[in-house]
Symmetry: D2
Subunit: 287 residues, 4 copies
């Protein structure tokens, strides 16, 4: 991650000639120094994807006008969807947890050691238990107990809180509640979950026990955007580890935790660096 | 693999005290030098599994009597199932292929370079195309074209041929026919298949295309014993590789082939070294 | 790890017939229920290694007499070296840290979540900086600043403290001081270090920068017992990750941290479960 | 790899503003449809690297003039080094082998199954033994026995043969001769070797035995360009596998062969697709 202030554009549009030239000309004519550029064409969908990052220092368009100028001068012409980010503004991430602490600590260590450029304005949980840990790290911790009866109302309050705190995206760090369709719909491609299996195998509850029953020789974890379709959202990252007949379910759980931490932190990092472009039910993850 | 002649016992029985002592006493009292011993207890099933290998040189029971003596003196007492193998007799393996050559060449290279201690008396195919390769390696190649009408009859002839050639087990090296239930039932835990996905994800046909559609970030391969339940037999080995949005289906197929070769050869090696103990729908794979 | 109280014997001796039978007979005759048994013969050294674990419940020799009985009845006969451990006594581990927090948090999370059966009576550092973290976890933190002049004296005090607290082994969780030969000699095979390269490549300081200079495509980490020969002690665990031309040194450092955490925790776990048998400059690591 | 005819430019030059814009403008103004574009800036060297591929169909500059036009209109301005390739011309690869067949078969299977777009006009060896295999695949096999006395002369003849056959690059598929400095100097970054260790560990002869002596827990393989500095050339690809105390040297050799095949074929593929840009003692390997 560059320490200089840079701008990042994430772009996609139907594939056609001249897109890269048009974008790089726009930057070049306004004295923008390109730091990195990566593009991808999906030949089946005939769709074009791109991430370009350039230095703000010396760029002749003021940052608040870039959006407007780019839309008018480039994006319209190609029918582009685009997002603009500035890397000197830290994304604001909310964490949802229940009782498991492994992903939680892993995230907090990366946060507190400065590995990530991120703000964490709030931690939300349906249980009290991890509150003291949040306190040690000096982060607000709010408990929203969920029952069938209170779910709708509690989620509404959670959403209000997220909006109030200007949260950019939510991380479910082994949050053991299923979010309602309404909640998911309010935050499209803004909720990152970690599921403890290599999807699409072993959807739903107790995947490690299912893996044990099936006698698989690898187990895995999957981070994905949450959609109303449980465990079916766009996959961001996956990894696995080898297991054997010696591994009882509790061993699978233990080994799995290490993969969960790794895969979730990988997805969060990509999100923080504006490197993920969701499209349909898939993701483009730039380097 | 030891170059000295050794005997291998694969044992399983309900767990109880004194099994290891009884087996090792039997060997010790008859002057058997244990080369390796590995045991496993499944605490959920309360079942015991073991593989022990000892040198035949100096062992005071003649090899044709070992089976009988062991049954009478040890196995009965513990209600054991057991298999006895001698490592100076090479297992006899039949290969079934269709048109894909990657696993086929990989197997033949290992065979011809002496990496494996194995006999390959026959290669069976539903197509002519790989015949010339078999010929180069000096192995008999028989074509049994399969149609709905001829399937039952052809399989019967294949089985007769396998029996006649004293084949110990069959490897489906990307054989693109589904074997009938009857065929499978005749060769329980004697047919090893390679499926081109990390099961239980993407069962059935065209798994790489399904993986592409789902947008997964890892693909894999699974070797397993064939049962009448398609892609549901006991898993022997699995492995995966990372993929990205850049990988179109044909790239997934290409990357997958390398995993298929690796995973299938790993399973074959374990089989040749008498290291697999299938139990229920799982396998114990000793080192 | 079994929740029942068990005993673990780690054994090695020159290879000879009848060792497994003798050990399992000893257990069987005294009503010991073997939970797991793993042996290994090094054919080049003609040396035998074994780990056996059995339930204490029902075992007819009182635990304080096992050592004596086993020595007299079995070990002497075969010229065995052996260690005896009881799994209902948690090993006592001291942690040495400097300023880096990644391995430190990883260890503390595993400790506080109950993943490991371990006592951590003390954390020792040459810096104040991680003291507040130790405090949050309720563990004593002692600072021993090291200069050339004070090193000998400080190490003496550290050793005295370790003895006083009955510490079984020490973990150097990225402790940035080189221990003196004297210190190492006092704790043979009782100090576990994490080195941030796949040894023997890139010994010494700044391995990630050396890896960058060489242009390698994988980086790794190594946990090993500390000897007076820097970065040359017996290796316990190693792992690697893929990198590319895009990874500057700071990226290598970041990616490397994740491997360091994984590899160090793997070594600690094996140590806690009495699964490591060092021999010469190598280790046998049982499952 | 696209099935349409495309052109590939590999470019590097001191980093400066406007390079991507200049290149893409050049293509755009001449009606070139960009298929893929990847760039990299090394911030320490302030050096820029790029690979761009575009369709030849519709491109308004005839292919034999592209080199000249690009040099004049773009490359000079930025002080670029560049290479131009056309993907409808298959690269011509020579294979050097000795007696080991594993990499050799792996390459030939990929070649004969059409996995790679490559011509193999010649196989060169210092031994007769693999000749019959080459013959089966219908490829010329020439034996150049090497002794201290004949080495210089034989290498000269080999070089003459390579020139005569218009060979683009050489693959040493476990060729057990050290090439002279002269030979290496004639084919800079055109000779790909596979070394059977994860360099820089275990350079030179018998790396698996050295790995065994050191007691490492991973072994690896490295493909690299050959320079006059043995095992020190620019690394193209590396991979590893886990091993344990159970693996004697012959097991390390066996496991290592599988990595060697994988890593060498990965390097060859990158070479065939014009994705490697060597710079100094490192490589940029584009996707």
């Amino acid at each position: 991650m560059s320490t200089k202030a840079t701008a990042v554009l994430l772009i996609h549009c139907p594939d056609q000639k001249g897109i890269v030239a048009a974008v790089t000309d726009f930057l070049q004519h306004n004295n923008g120094n390109v730091i990195s550029l990566e593009q991808h064409v999906d030949p089946n969908l005939a769709h074009f994807f791109m991430r370009v990052e350039w230095e703000l220092a010396g760029f002749t368009i003021e940052r608040e006008k870039i959006e407007d100028y780019f839309s008018t001068l480039v994006a319209r012409r190609f029918g582009m969807s685009h997002q603009l980010h500035f890397t000197d503004r830290n994304p604001r991430m909310a964490i949802f947890v229940s009782k498991a602490s492994h992903c939680f600590y892993d995230i907090l260590q990366r946060y507190s050691s400065g590995e990530w450029q991120v703000e964490i304005p709030i931690i939300i949980s349906n249980h009290e238990s991890l509150g003291p840990i949040a306190e040690r790290f000096g982060i607000d911790y709010r408990v929203f107990p969920i029952t069938k009866q209170t779910k709708a109302e509690q989620e509404e309050q959670e959403l209000a809180l997220l909006r109030e705190l200007d949260v950019d995206f939510v991380v479910l760090a082994r949050y053991m509640q299923i979010l309602s369709d309404d909640f998911c719909a309010q935050l499209p491609n803004q909720i990152i979950n970690i599921h403890h299996s290599f999807l699409p195998a072993f959807k739903g509850a107790r995947p490690y026990h299912s893996a044990y029953e099936r006698g698989v020789k690898v187990i895995g974890a999957t981070s994905h955007y949450v959609t109303s379709d449980l465990d079916e959202g766009p996959i961001i990252a996956q990894d696995v580890t080898h297991v054997s007949h010696r591994d009882e379910p509790k061993e699978l759980v233990r080994k799995g935790k290490d993969i969960e931490k790794r895969v979730l932190s990988q997805a969060i990092r990509a999100q923080l660096e504006h490197k993920i472009l969701p499209f349909g039910n898939k993701t483009i993850v730039f380097h």
